[in-house]
């Protein structure tokens, strides 16, 4: 398992084909924080070739590229490799989506997208393809380890399964350890996975998460900051 200099293991090597430098930079930050290694294309004339030379586990492909078309790149990649491809685009006709899929893309995400949604898609595609990183992303804070792909939390050697909503809430809280996450932010995180909870349901969900964590000994792991939100 390859590792970073600081010892964290690298989940997957992801080749990013995106011509907008600002988006490219932010995607790079997003991927590396999630434990992936991002390799970015800088020139686009023979991007499929140079992309495959980097031996990526997954390719993120923007459709609107200077001098070429993302669909052509997708086809070139597919001709010589079965590397999973996720197409990202801001074009808004359905034809692009259908074309991308017929060119062999594994997923299609429209810009502007939510970063966590992108990471979830990457996890799902890697898992489906049985690639590196399929082992799963994990997060750790104050002795509690969260395995995102298996939806399990472990604390002092004890493990427990989390529901989809519990996982999402805990992940969002652990992304900002020690600081308050507002109820609105938690609701948005849940809504992005089609769990359209209202205020009351969120309270119920957070309390269930507390009970679940208490079962593995992590009592009072989630604290309420009255009028502000929650924190771990």
């Amino acid at each position: 398992m390859p590792t970073y200099a600081d010892g964290r293991r690298i989940m997957a090597r992801i080749y990013v084909i995106e011509d907008d430098p600002a988006v490219r930079g932010e995607v790079e930050v997003l991927l590396e924080r999630a434990g992936h290694e991002a390799v970015c294309a800088c020139a686009f004339d023979r991007v499929a070739e140079s992309g495959l030379a980097a031996r990526p586990d997954l390719v993120l492909l923007d459709l609107g590229l200077p001098g070429t078309d993302g669909l052509i790149v997708a086809r070139e990649l597919r001709q010589t490799s079965d590397v999973p491809i996720i197409v990202l685009t801001s074009r808004t006709t359905d034809v692009d989506e259908l074309m991308s899929m017929s060119m062999g893309a594994d997923a299609f995400i429209e810009k502007p997208y939510n970063g966590q949604v992108l990471l979830a898609h990457i996890d799902a595609v890697l898992r489906r393809a049985g690639r590196a990183g399929a082992a799963g992303r994990t997060m750790e804070h104050a002795g509690l380890v969260l395995d995102l792909s298996r939806s399990r939390a472990s604390f002092e050697g004890r493990e427990v399964d989390l529901t989809k909503n519990e996982l999402r809430i805990l992940e969002t809280l652990m992304r900002r350890p020690g600081r308050v996450v507002s109820r609105e932010e938690l609701m948005e995180a849940l809504w992005s996975t089609d769990s359209f909870v209202d205020d009351n349901t969120l309270t119920v969900n957070v309390n269930r998460l507390r009970q679940t964590l208490a079962r593995i000994g992590a009592t009072d792991y989630v604290v309420t900051r009255r009028g502000q939100g929650y924190a771990v």
Partner: protein, 364 residues
Amino acid sequence: MSARGPRALGFGAYLGAHRTALVFCILCCAFAWPLLAAMGVGAGERGLLEVLLALAFAALQVGAWARERAWVEEARRIAGAGSDALALATDAEDADGLEGGALTGAVRAVAAEAARQVGAARAAEADYRDFVETWVHEVKTLLAAANLFVENANDPALRPLSRELARVEAYVEQALFYARSSSLENDYVIYDRALGPLAAEAVRSRATQLIEAHVAVDLMGMVRSDGSDIVAPCDPKWLVFIVGQLIDNAVRYRADPARDGRSPRIVLAAREEAVGTAGERVALSVRDNGCGIAAADLPRVCERGFTGQNGRSQRRSTGLGLYLVATLCKKMGLGVSVDSQEGAWTEVRIAFPRNRFGDERDDV
């Protein structure tokens, strides 16, 4: 447009139209009689000459009628052709004779110029559409960068920024669909899609606004009672936009718990109606429990720029949302109806006819 085709030009009608010439011919024959008598021409010869004169006049009139009839009938055909007038005028056949020739020439010139102008306008419109699509594409790339930046920064202080970005995105989308709605081209792709995921996508796209306004969303009715998908023919991108506009309205005119004594709520539901009949359809409804629409305003809410009492009192209405919804639905052949009780609720229903595309699909 006349169902009987163009009116034929009978000889009687022709003579009626050329009364002056007819009277002149009769007067000529009448004056010729005493004139020839004064010149000492015998009665038998006079009679013969009168008959020859009358025949010559008659031949002239019949000849002129035959020529005129052709182009008058052609002109009448074009005049009565309605939306086909331009095509008929372009193909107008050359008529014999001075007037006919001049007239068909003029008609063809007008038609050619009109066709040129329509072509130029269509090309300009297509260019404009391309520009808007490209522009929206560029802005969305910038928004993607900005959203990822806010998300990566993971700082609660930046939340207002992400809220404003979401609003920018909604307005950009509106500009795109406004250009699409006024376009002469129909660039949607209609096929059967499950409505539940599309409604969910629309709700997700308004998540920030809905959560901020504490509006609860109920999507339970988007699937059948056994949990299976309800499918209807539509362009998914267009429908997500349409539902997004309806959600925007529901958020804008939501209930105020302090004033109305109820918390704001949106219920999205799909229902299969008249199943098994020729009128089989799927009805998608978006219902809120907000301030409703005044009965007097209700018939006009889909008009462009109409803001009504609500729009004026809340001061945030562009009068475009429902207009765009109605225009886009009309383009896709969907029915829209708005119903409301002031102070209680508003419901917008979109009806998808089920069988309309069945025949076409069989041909593919």
